[in-house]
Amino acid sequence: MDIVVCVKRVPLTEEVDLAVDEHKKGIKKDQLAFVLNDWDNYAIEEALLLKEKYGGTVTAITVGSEEDEEVLRRCLAMGADRAIRIEAGDVSRFDSFGISKILSRVVKDLPFDLVFTGVLADDDYCGMVGMMMAEELGINHANMVTAIEIENGKARTTSELEGGLGEVSLIALPALLAIQTGINEPRYVSILGIRKAAKKELKVMDLSELGISDEELSPRTIIEEVYLPPETEGAQILTGDPDKIASDFVEILTKKGVMG
């Protein structure tokens, strides 16, 4: 079972106040820490679990600069067999179309039974690359996958629908699955583990090797500007000392008839 997992390095924004950069087309990144995209973390873990069960190899792949190798090292430390980085200059000039074209071109030449991507990336929240790649590669696909079982060369997947509903499908391999969070518990990999993984294979390819025309990579969607959320009306903030706030709280609930 050979699995290729597409991963992305994204900023860690949980506790951070973001600021817009001077061009207003992106955010200020110099003070941010970067991590492996949460969805991709689940994806690589799932690939490793399948490898542990069925044997085979796991390859991690990303489009990015040297700094992005950090997430590939993490994947290797977790247990991936090899990693590929596609050097493509300033990646922000590509949109999902471009990225999926680049990834597909590389993945096409790799032996695989499954290709995993995360459903979305924590930064742009687009969720397009996975399915686009499936279409580019012309292979079967499923989205929002929360469970996978392999039986007789087919994947039995459960996709998460809305409202707690799941959809079970049977897909012939090779296939591309976009993995949803919560499917497993990604393993921790220590600093030492990552340092040791430096010995594993990390190949760098250049975009120019792939023979994709500029026209194919030109962005279809253009970010005109980014901005912080507008100050809308929003909630009425309760103020005062804790006791006053608590009294106000109880008053609201009483008015709504839920205080019993």
């Binding site: 929240y125 629908l161 079970v168 897909i171 005109e224 959320p229 903030i237 608590a246």
Partner: protein
């Protein structure tokens, strides 16, 4: 006249709200830009669904076939691509749902059209189509435009547009048949599964106290549970809590969990990611407690308390118990 395609999403014989929301927006755009609104309805035995939307579109293209009984992105893609080829619509709206997110990108590559997902508004600036979407878990908004192309694909977030009827329409029904044999059937639908029901149904609750990532550790959840109990309400949660296995899935509120409509919804330590907000669009009054004044939840809530939940929640609980006693 330009057309706006709206792909009808329906499941188990019922139309889904997102379709109505998209039709509203399409209708609004149609008014401003003289579009025709065409709904694409693929399925099996869907005449009642067509009925529901007959006054919301100018045309409904229906393909009623047994093979279309279950949603299949590949089949939908081929049919819609064919229809796009025929009618050349300027805009194609698809729901930003599990199915929509599978269909739209494939369709984009198939047709070569640009695609923007999870749009929360559609406008025209200087005649150019622009959509508004969010990034970084809702902390950043962006305006996106498109390279010139015959048409644009957009997936629309649930719950941002109203479900109302707009304008006065009477749809022309067009029945179509497609030779589905040639479309390679890549995925076999097996069945729907429901997450375990559990002993409580938060969708029926009158009052919910919901806990989010801000709670920090599993053991602290008891703090929020106690408030819920003091109020005779139920405990619910956001997705990260379920991902960590701290609470069962049937307590999850949100687009991938349950939609709830309590009279009062208290959100404790929940940032307000849109997937969560989608679950509470039906809630009466939303009270949010979060230490970050900029948390998106405060935009969606009616009342807010900015502060440390570990300090506030016990005080609230005490006050509630005090009031109930006296």
């Amino acid at each position: 006249m330009s057309e706006v395609f709206v792909i009808v999403e329906h499941r188990l014989g019922e139309i889904r709200d997102i379709t109505l929301e998209m039709l509203w927006k399409a209708g609004e755009l149609a008014q401003k830009r003289s579009y025709n609104v065409t709904a694409i309805l693929l399925g099996h035995e869907v005449s009642s669904i067509a009925e529901t939307i007959s006054d919301r579109a100018d045309k409904i293209i229906i393909s009623d076939d047994e093979q279309l009984k279950n949603f299949n992105a590949d089949i939908y893609k081929e049919i819609i691509a064919g229809l796009i080829e025929e009618s050349k619509p300027s805009l194609i709206l698809i729901g930003n749902t599990a199915w929509g997110m599978e269909l739209a990108p494939c369709l984009a590559v198939r047709t070569g059209f640009p695609l923007a997902t999870d749009c929360i508004d559609i406008t025209f600036r200087d005649g150019k189509l622009t959509v508004q979407r969010q990034m970084f878990s809702g902390k950043i908004f962006s305006n996106v435009s498109f390279s010139s192309s015959a048409g644009c694909l957009l997936t629309i977030r649930s719950g941002v547009f109203p479900k109302d009827r707009i304008g006065d329409r009477q749809a022309q029904i067009v029945q179509r048949e497609f030779s589905l044999k040639e479309i390679p059937q890549k995925k076999d639908f097996i069945e729907f599964v429901e997450t375990a029901a559990g002993d409580v149904d938060i969708a029926q609750a009158e009052l919910l106290v919901s806990v989010g990532r801000g709670i920090g550790e599993e053991e602290n959840i008891s703090l929020v549970r106690e408030l819920a109990e003091a109020l005779n309400g139920l405990l619910s949660c956001s997705r990260p809590i379920v991902d960590k296995n701290w609470l069962p899935k049937y307590l999850q509120v949100g687009s991938s969990g349950k939609s709830v409509n309590p009279k009062v919804y208290v959100a404790v330590g929940i940032s307000g990611a849109f997937q969560h907000l989608q679950g509470i669009t039906g809630a009466g009054t939303v009270i949010a407690i979060n230490k970050d004044p900029k948390a998106p939840i405060f935009r969606a809530a009616d009342y807010g308390i900015v502060g440390d939940l570990f300090k506030i929640v016990p005080v609230l609980k005490e006050k509630v118990l005090e009031t109930k006693k006296g």
